[in-house]
């Protein structure tokens, strides 16, 4: 009926939005960790991937989808907490390359162990919603029940994180310990525990992203499923300014939409090159991030 909704432009925007929210989620989880601990977590894709494998192992015991999702999130919370306590805690105050190297090592170990246990053959996860696109007047519409579920979930997670940080006592303490750890300790804030909590939280956000990405009909769950998403997530976070959660989300969504247009009008292979070029240009033009107000980045 309405050719506008099935037009090429609208299709690309909506398709891009579906990918963009997952980039935004990864970028958001990167920013959360970066702000609170000064570590860019290169295992931010691999940790959720691992937790997703663990959670969906319940499938073979005939648990339902939602039980598996809950198990994934719990596994993610545990993995995030343990990682901070065992690995990351030793790296605070060390030269900047130490945490980078350790987290890359952790990424490799997690991917290798996952492939050793579960093999690198893609496994398809059950989907609670159909991924067959709706039809409008005989033409395919850009969205399917699954992609709507994907977008809604992502927005919900973002809103929950925002609400946690803005409106709760816990959020106030999390923000304070990121901004001024020593002052926070002087006020009785248990900064150590909050850092652990921050890692748990951001891994849980990552887990939801990993589930959404690997439920996708095309990719399925593989040990390296998050590599590409991580790269886009980083690009989005850096474009938005690593200090800004809102910037990360906005940049992620925009990146997804641009990618979709490039895929449609150029080709699939050009996508990451365009993304890289966007990163290069944005760092040249606005090193403090496109969506940050001041030049507060540590230059």
């Amino acid at each position: 009926m309405d050719p506008f909704l099935t037009s090429r432009v609208v299709t690309d925007i909506l398709g891009g939005l579906t990918n963009g929210v997952t980039f935004g989620l990864v970028a958001l989880s990167l920013v959360l960790i970066w702000r609170s601990t000064g570590v860019l977590n290169f295992a931010q894709g691999a940790m959720p991937m691992f937790a997703t494998y663990v959670g969906f192992a319940l499938l073979s015991y005939h648990f339902g989808y939602w039980a598996c999702v809950a198990a994934c999130v719990i596994a993610g919370l545990m993995l995030g907490g343990l990682t901070e306590r065992i690995l990351v805690r030793r790296l605070y105050g060390k030269p900047e390359i130490n945490p980078i190297v350790v987290m890359v090592g952790f990424l490799i170990v997690l991917e290798a162990v996952a492939a050793a246990i579960w093999s690198s053959t893609p496994r398809s996860l059950p989907s609670p919603f159909s991924s067959i696109h709706w039809q409008l007047a005989g033409k395919p519409f850009a969205l399917s029940p699954f992609t709507v579920y994907e977008i809604v979930t992502a927005v919900l997670v973002m809103a929950l994180v925002a609400a946690l940080f803005r409106f709760t006592k816990l959020g106030l303490q999390l923000r304070a310990s990121a901004l001024a750890p020593e002052v926070s300790r002087l006020l009785g804030v248990r900064v150590g525990r909050l850092l652990t909590l921050g890692w748990m939280l951001s891994t849980a956000v990552g887990v939801i992203t990993a589930i959404l990405v690997s439920t996708n009909f095309f990719s399925g769950l593989t040990p390296t499923v998050m590599d590409g998403i991580f790269a886009y997530g980083f690009i989005a976070a850096a474009i938005g300014g690593l200090e800004s959660p809102i910037g990360a989300i906005v940049a992620g969504v925009l990146l997804g939409i641009v990618n979709q247009f490039v895929t449609d009008y150029v080709n699939q292979n050009a996508v990451i090159m365009v993304a890289l070029a966007m990163l290069v240009v944005s760092l040249m033009v606005r090193p403090s991030g496109v969506f940050t107000k001041s030049t507060q980045r540590r230059v």
Partner: protein, 235 residues
């Protein structure tokens, strides 16, 4: 009451505090004076558990503070207003105060009202970002943030730093009245010896990590030698 006994702190080869011993009485202001690098800030940081002493003890009403975590010491009732005030500029005035009240057992709303009454200017600016406040207002915010948790000990690190003389005088009077009305143990670290001595009951003078004087404030204030050599107060 804070009892410090034979406290020594080292940073590698540098000894920042050497056998420091003194007593800070409840309901009194104990001024800790001395030049830059005398170890004043290190002393406060050690009381709060931010630095680990090499030897010596710190007791608060008979309870040992050494080897305790900073956040636990804060929860025991030690309010520490750090050097440079430690106000979180990205937070609003009220958020700063809410953070201060986090560990307190008191009612948040009541605490906020009390502080706004004590420092009316903070009440007027409660929704403003702390970065927008003037130096004196920031100092008040930092003190209010410490006081809202109802501490029994207040550690103040150079509260007069960067303030105009008139503001400093006002601030000192506030500290004195707070100390008396709430029966606080105040340890006041100051480089500005004259204004600190005007309100302090007791004074300790540090020189390169060691105590060179420990006496009633008025006695320290009148000692010509101390005034000239350690406090930089020359007529």
């Amino acid at each position: 009451m804070i009892t410090i006994d034979n406290l020594s702190v080292s940073f590698g080869a540098v000894q920042a505090l050497r056998d420091v011993t003194f007593l800070a009485e409840t309901g009194q202001i104990t001024a800790v004076l001395g030049a830059n690098g005398a170890g004043k800030t290190t002393l406060l940081r050690t009381i709060s558990g931010l630095e680990e002493p090499t030897s010596g003890t710190i007791l608060m009403d008979g309870q040992a503070l050494v080897h305790k975590k900073t956040e636990d010491i804060a929860r025991m009732g030690v309010g520490h207003v750090p050097e440079g005030r430690g106000v979180i500029g990205e937070f609003t005035v009220e958020e700063n105060l809410r953070l201060g009240a986090m560990m307190a057992k008191v009612n948040l709303q009541k605490g906020l009202e009390e502080q706004y009454e004590q420092f009316p200017v903070l009440g007027e600016r409660r929704k403003q970002h702390a970065a927008k406040l003037s130096g004196g207002e920031r100092q008040m915010l930092a003190m209010a943030r410490a006081l809202i948790a109802e501490p029994s000990v207040l550690l103040l690190d150079e509260p007069s730093l960067g303030l105009a003389p008139l503001v400093t005088a006002q601030l000192m009077l506030t500290i004195r009245s707070l100390c008396e009305s709430r029966d606080l143990t105040v340890i006041l670290v100051e480089q500005n010896a004259s204004s600190a001595l005007r309100i302090a009951h007791h004074a300790v003078v540090l020189h390169v990590g060691s105590v060179v004087a420990n006496d009633v404030a008025s006695t320290v204030a009148e000692d010509e030698n101390l005034r000239q050599y350690y406090l930089g107060l020359v007529e």
